[in-house]
Every structure is written in structure tokens, then in C-alpha cells.
């Protein structure tokens, strides 16, 4: 799935996604318990949300419900907003040595230095090279829309929420949480969305 690299349009400090997953026949058996333990150990490092489309995500469901549903074969997304805490979280993952694959999405300059500082060797990379014949969207609308790589966030919804913020009906964080409810996988970064919505509201 390429969806987390499309948030390049929303590039902002403080936007990282960890994807932790198993492979059938290689490391899937027992992965459910491991993933649950990973969530519990990484949550203190400021995870903004976690989940996956099959088991639910904390943008829509209570964390304990999502944790309960995680099972062998569950994929896990976790969003982080702080570079230092993310680095510590990856350090924990390495120590845990679960054997599960770990994929990090983030701004390339920052992720390069995290990878180097932790002495990790990149196995493979997925990166974007722009959009050909790009459609015209306001950059802040595009930024919020692209936080959902599954294309579930409506530009009209982003515009409407920015108007409601401007009119004092909602705080930016509330509006971001409402938009975040359309996300099924847990990758939508509500903190970044709130910042962009605030900017849109001031237009």
C-alpha cells in the first residue's frame, strides 16, 4: 500500500507513521500478542493514533476495543508527532526484536538522520516523485486531504470545517477530530490537520 507517502503534500514537522506487520508463513504466528505489546510499550512515546482498517482505529473507536481486536496477521499503523520520541520508540522496537517488519514514513531529511543515529540499515524504500497534471487545490486543503492516503477526506469537508472554525463554532482540534473520523486505518494526523485548518480559517 502506498498510501502514507502521499501525505508528502502535507509535509510538516511532526508527522511520522510507523507500520508494523507480519508475513504469512514467516513471522505471522503469535504476531497478534506481539502487536498488542508493541502498542502498549509505544503509546507512552506520544502516539497520536493507531489501528488498521480491519480491526478499527483510535480516530473512531476506543483504544481498548482496537487492542482487543488485534490478532495474528493484523497490520498496525501508529502516528507520531515528535521526532525525538519517535526515535526512542524505534529503539524500543529494535530491543523488543519481535521479528515483525517495521516501516517508517516521514520527511526524508529527518528519517535519514533517525535511521543513521540508530545504526539501522534500510532494506527497501518507497518514495514519491510528484504528481503529473496535478489538480488545483488550495495547498492547505490539499494538505489535510492527503493525510488520508485512502482518499476518504473530502475537500468540501475541509473547507466547511475551516468556515466553522472561522465563525467560532468549532476549535481547530475539534474540527480535525471530526475529519479524522473518516479515517479507517489510523494514519490521519489530527495535530497536523488542526494546524492547517487554523491557517485556512484565517484566510
Amino acid at each position: 500500500m502506498t498510501h502514507t507517502i502521499h501525505r508528502s503534500l502535507s509535509i510538516q514537522p511532526g508527522d511520522f507513521v510507523l507500520n508494523i506487520l507480519s508475513t504469512k508463513g514467516i513471522n505471522r504466528e503469535g504476531s497478534g500478542d506481539k502487536i498488542r505489546e508493541i502498542v502498549r510499550r509505544l503509546l507512552p512515546f506520544g502516539a497520536l493514533s493507531f489501528g488498521n482498517p480491519d480491526d478499527g482505529c483510535t480516530l473512531r473507536d476506543p483504544a481498548e476495543d482496537v487492542l482487543r481486536k488485534l490478532h495474528d496477521g493484523s497490520n498496525l499503523h501508529m502516528v507520531f508527532g515528535d521526532e525525538q520520541k519517535l526515535k526512542e520508540a524505534i529503539g524500543i522496537l529494535r530491543e523488543m526484536d519481535t521479528g515483525l517488519s517495521v516501516v517508517l514514513t516521514g520527511p526524508t531529511g529527518v528519517t535519514d538522520s533517525i535511521i543513521q543515529d540508530l545504526g539501522l540499515k534500510v532494506d527497501s524504500v518507497h518514495f514519491g516523485a510528484g504528481i503529473l497534471n496535478k489538480p488545483p487545490l488550495h495547498p492547505d486543503v490539499e494538505a489535510v486531504v492527503s493525510l488520508c492516503g485512502h482518499m476518504r477526506v473530502s475537500p468540501r469537508l475541509v473547507e466547511q470545517m475551516s468556515v466553522r472554525i472561522a465563525e467560532g463554532e468549532l476549535y481547530a482540534a475539534e474540527a480535525a477530530a471530526k475529519i479524522g473520523r473518516v479515517c479507517r486505518c489510523g494514519c490521519f494526523n489530527t495535530a497536523v490537520a488542526a494546524q492547517r485548518l487554523e491557517r485556512l480559517a484565517k484566510r
Binding site: M1, T2, T4, I5, H6, R7, S8, L9, I11, N19, L21, T23, N27, E29, G30, P53, D54, G99, L100, S101, V102, V103, L104, T105, G106, P107, T108, T111, I115, L120, K121, V122, D123, S124, V125, H126, F127, G128, A129, G130, I131, L132, N133, K134, P135, L137, V145, H150, M151, R152, V153, S154, P155, R156, L157, Q160, R181, V182, R184, C185
Partner: protein, 233 residues
């Protein structure tokens, strides 16, 4: 998707549709879904925004076709789950354990109308044929391949779907020509395409260099498999 007689005309759902397919003639009048624009992503129903339970699934044959491309979790005729490429794609997420990605080659993916989404299958298929004629071998996902094998009817080609992709395996020196061909084609259409590239960590610098040589900037975000996965006995 369709809106049933429970609708009270509150218009709460209208802005939630990423395609703008939910419409209304007036407040307090029943809203309706423009089937030409609906890509069956199901966001409207999924988000529980309707206070009257008026949004329901359509069982029309063409709706089922659209769901294969639009839904995060959908069944695929033949038993494959939507979301998998259906074979052949470079799976960066699992490569530390699967070891499928060869050196010196990348898989370039053109994801049609991403971000935002929404394009007719006929428009997408026309691009696939163009790429084939230009000498490329575009691989398509399992859902698309299934339709291709059955044969596209005019009715199917007229359906608007969320997105589809073409994946082409190539060497660094082929990059400029492929992007040039894709760009030249897209300029003459209402389509757009996100370009993304999957390769081994050791191959990454070669493709960065090839992109720079073509004057193409890479996006400032990337996805890295950190090499922590392994086979467990």
C-alpha cells in the same frame, strides 16, 4: 450507495462525500446520490453522520464493480481481497523477510487521480493502452486484471472508480522516458497521476540520481523498511 426515504433533508452528509456525489435541491428535501459521480467508497455511510439511517448500500451490478476499487475492505471475485496488488508488485513493507525485490530495478507506479480520486474506467483503460503501445508493460492490480480478463463492456468503461494504478518495472536509465511519456499523455486528458517508486535501499540512490538528471524533484516524504523483520523458527 443510495439514499432512502428515511432522509430528513438535513444535508449533514453532503460535504463528507470526497467526490461531491451527494446532492440536494433544497434543505428539508431528500438528498440524492449522483451515480455518475459516486465511486462507492462508502465514506458517507461509514462515518455515521446521518441521523436518520438513510444511507444504504446499492446492490446494482455496476455499484459492485465500483466497490472493488473504492472500498478499503471488499471481497474480490475469485477470493482475493481488495487492497492486494494481486501479484507482481514490489512489496516494500515485507521485503526484509520476503526478499522479492531485485537489485538495480525499481517498480514505478502511476496512481491515477490520486489524491482526491475519481476517474472513469474508460479513461484509465485508454491510458493503459497508450502505455502498452509506447512499449511499456504496465501491470495492473488484481481487481483491474480480473475485469480485463472478463472483457470491458461499454457499461463498465463508463463507470467512475476511485483510482487504479499502473506499475512498470524499469532501470534508472528508463525513468526519464517513462515519465515523459506519461506526462505528455496526461496533459491531453482530465486525468492526473501520483508517481511513486519502490526499490531496494541500495538501489535508491541510483533512482534519486536518475530523477535529478531528468529535473524531477522527489517528494520530501518517503517510506523506509527498517530491516527489522526476520523469519521466526
Amino acid at each position: 450507495m443510495r439514499i432512502n426515504e428515511n432522509c430528513i433533508g438535513c444535508q449533514a452528509c453532503l460535504p463528507y462525500c470526497p467526490q461531491g456525489a451527494i446532492k440536494s435541491n433544497a434543505v428539508h428535501e431528500r438528498a440524492f446520490i449522483d451515480e455518475q459521480w459516486c465511486v462507492e467508497c462508502g465514506v458517507c455511510r461509514d462515518t455515521d453522520i446521518c441521523p436518520a439511517d438513510a444511507l444504504e448500500e446499492s446492490q446494482e451490478e455496476m455499484s459492485l464493480v465500483k466497490k472493488q476499487f473504492g472500498r478499503l475492505v471488499a471481497s474480490f471475485p475469485g477470493g482475493e481481497k481488495a487492497g492486494r496488488s494481486g501479484g507482481g508488485g514490489f512489496d516494500v513493507k515485507r521485503n526484509d523477510v520476503s526478499r522479492d525485490i531485485p537489485p538495480s530495478i525499481a517498480a514505478l507506479r502511476l496512481e491515477i487521480n490520486r489524491p482526491v480520486g475519481g476517474a472513469k474506467l474508460g479513461e484509465i483503460e485508454a491510458m493503459r493502452l497508450f502505455l502498452e503501445k509506447a512499449g511499456w508493460k504496465p501491470d495492473v492490480g488484481g481487481r483491474y486484471r480480473h475485469l480485463l480478463e472478463k472483457g470491458f463492456t461499454p457499461e463498465i468503461l463508463d463507470q467512475r472508480v476511485l483510482t487504479a494504478y499502473f506499475e512498470i518495472k524499469l532501470r534508472p536509465e528508463e525513468l526519464g522516458r517513462l515519465i515523459g511519456d506519461a506526462r505528455a499523455y496526461l496533459r491531453k486528458t482530465p486525468l492526473w497521476a501520483s508517481v511513486n517508486i519502490a526499490c531496494l535501499g541500495e538501489t535508491y540512490p541510483l533512482f534519486l540520481k536518475a530523477l535529478a538528471a531528468c529535473g524531477i524533484e522527489t517528494d520530501p516524504v518517503a517510506k523506509f523498511n527498517l530491516g527489522l523483520g526476520r523469519k521466526l523458527s
